[in-house]
């Protein structure tokens, strides 16, 4: 195996890495070789929260640190390794929550403007989802107009961010027992922004200096993400653009076309991508493309923007996070359009090696060296046309070194929790009952959520795919989002046929009966809220306990990279889920903090963290946890099936 082949298990990625090398273009994979992670920062032992530092308090290399040695391991202010580690972790949660929630705020504002009819190009496409959210928010439906209902929903959604007291409106969606646990622990969020601000305050120099208190506050903040900001994003996006339903699509760099203008949409917010998906069919745009010698305009997605328009339109996906530079390396991307989150600054440098026009569109996210065309929701179709025209005009500047790998894979996506509910029972019997029954009878061993990013410190896509294949082989149905979902798409796990090829006999039989893949693509990273909803539906349907923590379920993000992943992980843990991360763990500088997260949290929030970079071992941990929960539920052993005749039934009635 060559060094390049150790960087990814995706053939298209390896081909483009070879091309980048031949073209003299540096990528993140090269930088991962030349720059190693800072060992003190990696374990969370560096405090730079004031100008007396940065203070470094790394864990001792040898075991057996004495109490006296430990006492010395403090910052100038006396902050212990525990406080420093917990503060760093908490700040990651705050940043991740802020990212998802600011995304949600933008969606809420556009939603409200759409409801009022102020933004051309946007409309409320999913009336039923509007009623669903209206009922959640306590908005009267009756005979009121859609506009009036939507305006009320919009106002309520916007108010969630600045809420100062009470509880976020979506909290009551959680299982009742879960809500009680949060209230008893005092970690039910009050508002979304408030929890982020308070956590940043607590982690300021000289404020909260008890690691237990800090990590509970981080849980409260994370819950404001999962059951707050992220859930608002998902729900309002569904009303605006449609609740995802099963749709066919393709993925990998091979979706780019040599004879068409390729415009890649990369980022997270679906507002502009949705308008572009509409405007690209405009005859003026297609004619302009033909005028420059192209057959048309080919729109493709990258990262979670891709997931959004894939789930709702079947628009092809060029790749996941670590493929963003490589799409440009094909030499066939005429414009790469970015908004917020996970866009590498190096895109500007890579674009210079080729002809690609890098276009930033968010007022919040500019990149030095990129062209900025700001997305204005009040003028969205015109902005979208302008961006497409930039790509079209750039088509003629392509250099001769165009090489598009032929690799693509088919996938079926669009498994919102509403769609899963429908698929399991139809319109008249929509239900999670068949899933619960098959978990109880053992055909399905449990449920896993495998989410998160790519990380250049590990072989691209390998940990996620190895883990997921091991889980489905052991009859664990897997729910995926984000870049992990894209890895599954590329590997062919998102087709119904994959059940027979990869899943254990029990899971395969259920998937074949329903006609679903063994791995269900539930959307982008804000759509992890859909997994919370699916888990809640399983609880509420009955037979598998009263709380998410009772379920035979576990979560993982083995290739995590961003602060958003830590926020997601922490809200899953705080919702009662055992969650395993890989690659690296950010609190290893403090045994106490790590022990609290990995063990003691199970006594309070009933969920806990785990760390295991080896995907097979991670799968084993998750399956052991699932089996532990099955045992607690009394469904770990097959029971003898007894056919009751009428006499036996009479005996029962008499008793």
């Amino acid at each position: 195996m060559s060094d390049l082949e150790k960087k990814s298990i995706d053939p298209a990625t390896i081909k483009m890495l070879k091309k980048a090398q031949a073209d003299g273009c540096e990528t993140i994979f090269d930088r991962a070789e030349t720059m190693k992670p800072c060992p003190i920062g990696a374990e969370g032992s560096c405090c730079k929260n004031c100008a007396m530092g940065p203070c470094r308090v790394p864990a001792p290399k040898k075991k057996g640190e004495t109490a006296a040695e430990k006492t010395k391991r403090t910052g100038l202010c006396g902050a212990t390794a525990e406080t420093i580690s917990a503060r760093n972790f908490a700040r990651m949660v705050a940043a991740g929550t802020a990212a998802h929630s600011d995304h949600a705020r933008g969606i809420s504002e556009v939603f409200l403007a759409t409801a009022k009819g102020e933004v051309p190009g946007f409309q409320l496409k999913d009336e039923q989802k509007l009623y669903q959210v209206a009922m959640d928010f306590g908005v009267e439906i009756g005979d009121r107009s859609i506009k009036d209902i939507a305006v009320d929903v919009g106002h309520k959604a916007v108010a969630e961010f600045g809420r100062q007291e009470g509880e976020p409106l979506f909290i009551k969606r959680a299982p009742l027992k879960r809500q009680e646990i949060w209230r008893k622990l005092g970690i039910t969020p009050r508002g979304i922004d408030r929890e982020v601000v308070e956590l940043m305050h607590r982690t300021h120099m000289g404020v909260d200096q008890d690691y237990r208190s800090l990590l509970m506050a981080a849980a409260r903040c994370a819950l404001a993400d999962g059951w707050g900001g992220s859930m608002i994003s998902t729900e309002l996006q569904d009303i605006l653009f449609g609740n995802p339903v099963p749709v066919f699509g393709q993925i990998n760099l091979g979706v780019l076309k040599k004879d068409e203008v390729n415009v890649v949409i990369h980022g997270h917010e679906p507002l502009l991508p949705e308008i572009m998906a509409d405007v690209v069919h405009d005859p003026d745009i297609q004619q302009a493309a033909k005028a420059v010698g192209a057959k048309g305009v080919n729109l493709a997605g990258m990262c979670c923007s891709a997931n959004e328009i894939l789930m709702r339109h079947g628009i092809p996906v060029a790749g996941n996070f670590l493929q963003q530079e490589l799409a440009i390396v094909t030499g066939a991307v005429d414009a790469m359009v970015v908004d917020v989150q996970c866009e590498m600054q190096s895109l500007a440098q890579v674009a210079k090696c080729y002809h690609t026009k890098l276009i930033t569109t968010s007022a919040k996210a500019k990149i030095d060296g990129a062209t900025h065309i700001e997305f204005e929701e009040h003028n969205a179709p015109n902005v979208a046309k302008k961006i497409l025209m930039e790509g079209i005009q750039n088509f003629k500047n392509r250099k001769p070194n165009v090489e598009i790998p032929s690799d693509t894979a088919d996938q079926v996506v669009g498994f919102s929790h509403e769609t899963i509910n429908y698929l399991l029972g139809g319109v008249f019997r929509a239900s999670y009952r068949p899933l619960n029954d098959n978990i109880i009878n053992g055909r399905i061993r449990g449920i896993a959520g495998v989410v998160g990013c790519n990380n250049a410190r590990v072989t691209h896509d390998d940990p996620n795919l190895t883990l997921i294949k091991e889980l489905i082989k052991n009859d664990v149905i897997v729910l995926v989002t984000g870049c992990s979902a894209m890895a599954c798409g590329k590997a062919g796990l998102l087709t119904p046929e994959a059940a027979r090829q990869y899943a254990g006999a029990g899971l395969a039989s259920v998937c074949e009966a329903v006609g679903i893949p063994p791995v269900l693509h539930m959307g982008s990273c804000v759509d992890n809220s859909r997994i919370l909803m699916a888990a809640t539906a399983v609880v509420k349907d009955g037979g598998l306990g009263d709380d998410i923590s009772d379920l035979p379920a576990a979560g993982a993000a083995l290739e995590w990279m961003s602060e958003k992943a830590v926020a997601i992980g922490h809200y899953f843990v705080a919702s009662g889920v055992f969650t395993v991360f890989g690659t690296t763990w950010p609190t290893t500088g403090s045994e106490e903090v790590t022990k609290l997260l990995f063990e003691e949290f199970e006594n309070t929030v009933k969920g806990k963290w785990g760390f295991e970079p080896d995907p097979i071992k991670a799968a084993k941990l998750m399956i052991e946890h699932i089996d532990k929960k099955r045992k607690a539920l009394g469904i770990d052993k097959a029971r003898e099936r007894v056919l009751f005749d009428m006499a036996k039934r009479r005996e029962l009635d008499a008793a």
Partner: protein
């Protein structure tokens, strides 16, 4: 589309042919837009109260509405 059969063994050891998975040729061209089946507000609200009963119905017996609490 021809049916495909698989040979399996019954509980009493007999070999039988059973209907195997059948897939239509080609690839799906349109989404399965099941939400269009609800045509008006009444139908949509009715579906929410039954299909999404976990949150919107008062009349069913799931884990939180069982007769005898766990």
């Amino acid at each position: 589309m021809a049916d495909q059969f698989e040979e399996k063994v019954t509980f009493d050891g007999k070999k039988v042919k059973v209907l195997g998975p059948t897939f239509e040729d080609g690839k799906p061209e349109t989404p399965i837009n099941w939400r269009q089946k609800m045509r008006n507000r009444d139908e949509m609200l009715a579906y929410l109260k039954t299909g999404e009963r976990y949150w919107f119905s008062e009349e069913w017996f799931g884990s939180e509405k069982r007769k005898t609490k766990a």
